[in-house]
Symmetry: C2
Subunit: 300 residues, 2 copies
């Protein structure tokens, strides 16, 4: 029997992810706060839902691809009232990065209704979402994974199961975000510092990407700086949010994380300087602006 999919959130990631699932043959009924979004995907075989509850009520699996824990809360238990609409045995697939505490809380509140959570935050941008090429860090019960697994396989190149408890997926995702956020901030600090030394930063990029100083993020983001192109592929605010979740968790646990705390401050400074919705490589522009250093594409 085919799994019936309800979908909440058709943004830059959610839209292409839902399209992948529909193209794989699953019936998808989708809601977004902007009704245009679902309408525009009707040609891809997605059925628009007028309300959250309408997307939830016949779903075997309800995917939440919203931005924050607050939005997920609202969808499930607030105005959206998805929790009340879901049938017993349904599975909620929480695919946003919202932190383990939120997921654990949702799981406890859904349990009396016989609804389980699969914790499945995603890594990878919109282009990879469209190609079904995401990395998804997954945790959940064996039964819940039996429902969600085939859908995850459609969306992901790699969907490792990292634990059985909802929250474990979030924890691994946040470890990834700690590293990714620090690496972006460090890449931007390093390339702006290189420009300050009047080095040829294209040559620096070439040497570093072949050296022990390389990171996935340095290799991926610094070309945006070299081209002076800060069109958002992934925005500064994403790391304000994700590094913020890490700081909250770590502070509550009395676990000092000074390196990622410093990185968060750099994303905050970049956001404060008006670049929150720009590409996260804008951290390099912020260093350059503050220090009067010239980077490509900057006006004098």
């Amino acid at each position: 029997m085919t799994t019936t999919v309800g979908w909440i959130g058709l943004g830059a990631m959610g839209g292409p992810m839902a399209t992948c699932v529909a193209r794989a043959g699953y019936p998808v009924t989708a809601y977004d706060i902007d009704p245009q979004k679902a309408q525009s995907l009707a040609a891809e075989g997605i059925t628009p839902a007028a309300t959250v509850a309408a997307a939830a009520d016949s779903a075997d699996a309800l995917v939440l691809m919203v931005a924050t824990a607050g939005q997920a809360e609202s969808v499930l238990f607030g105005d959206g009232a998805a929790a009340a609409a879901l049938k017993p045995g349904a599975v909620v697939m929480l695919m946003a990065t919202v932190g383990p505490a939120a997921v654990e809380g949702f799981a406890a509140r859904l349990e009396p209704a016989g609804v389980e959570i699969v914790d499945a935050p995603v890594s990878g941008g919109a282009a990879r979402a469209g190609a079904g090429d995401l990395l998804i860090m997954v945790s959940g019960s064996e039964r819940a994974l039996s429902v969600a697994g085939p859908l995850l396989d459609v969306m992901a190149r790699n969907a490792p199961v990292v634990g059985s408890a909802p929250g474990d997926g979030q924890k691994v995702k946040l470890v990834n975000q700690l590293l990714a956020g620090v690496h972006i901030a460090a890449a931007c600090e390093a390339i702006a510092f290189a420009a300050k030394q009047e080095l040829d930063i294209r040559k620096v990029y070439e040497v570093i990407t072949a050296s022990a100083g390389n990171s996935w993020m340095f290799e991926n983001r610094i070309p945006h700086v070299l081209d002076g192109d800060y069109t958002p592929r992934s925005a500064v605010e994403i790391f304000v949010k994700d590094l913020g979740i890490i700081q909250d968790m770590a502070r509550n646990q009395r676990f000092p994380v000074p390196v990622s705390a410093a990185a968060l401050q750099m994303f905050l400074m970049t956001s404060a300087a008006g670049m929150g919705r720009a590409d996260d490589a804008s951290v390099a522009r912020m260093y350059a602006q503050v220090t009067g250093t010239k980077l490509p594409g900057q006006s004098d």
Copy 2:
């Protein structure tokens, strides 16, 4: 005509590097503050020198593979008096990471004697040094590079020329060290934080190395943590030194580098806790010890 090589410094890196050069057929006369070191390499075709000046006086190229700017200063202009012993036209190859200011100073002081500097700091550990597999960031005049180039090719897999002025090699090397140091500190912060979340850190390693949070250093160093093996491959003190040079440069230039400043503090804390000569992945042990988090190989 074969280039005659003088060599100062036969430590963990200098020994295997000099051996590579000797095996390639170059006559190498070498001095180390520990006379045993040169004696033990005699079988490799290296001629021991009793003094720095004896290694320098017939050299077409004098390699300095010492630890600090102070040691290089002493070799060239202090007790070693190599500068006075070198013949006009000789080239000094400065292969340690000492910062651009030191190299620029040495170059200016050597110029009246007709001696040029090739700035050629290396990246890569002892194993790669022995295999002639280093990365060397090179700068110098065309004439000086014509002398040094063939020797660098023996020691390196990759020896990009990053500029024509002595100091440019140091600058690129330090950009690399900024990134490498931050990445080690972030890797250690992240894996200790993951252990605090009671995640399976081997699984975390496997997921992260296939994700956007990966770095060359995460992939290379975290296995030391997973194995609980802190035998020094590269010591904590290396990054205390190199990130310290970066802080000094950046402060003098009024260029804030808060992310690498935070990383330096973590290497300092690890050194302060008695692990300065241990492997730089010991930063993870420091986080674990401070927070009471269990990592592999730790006693309860």
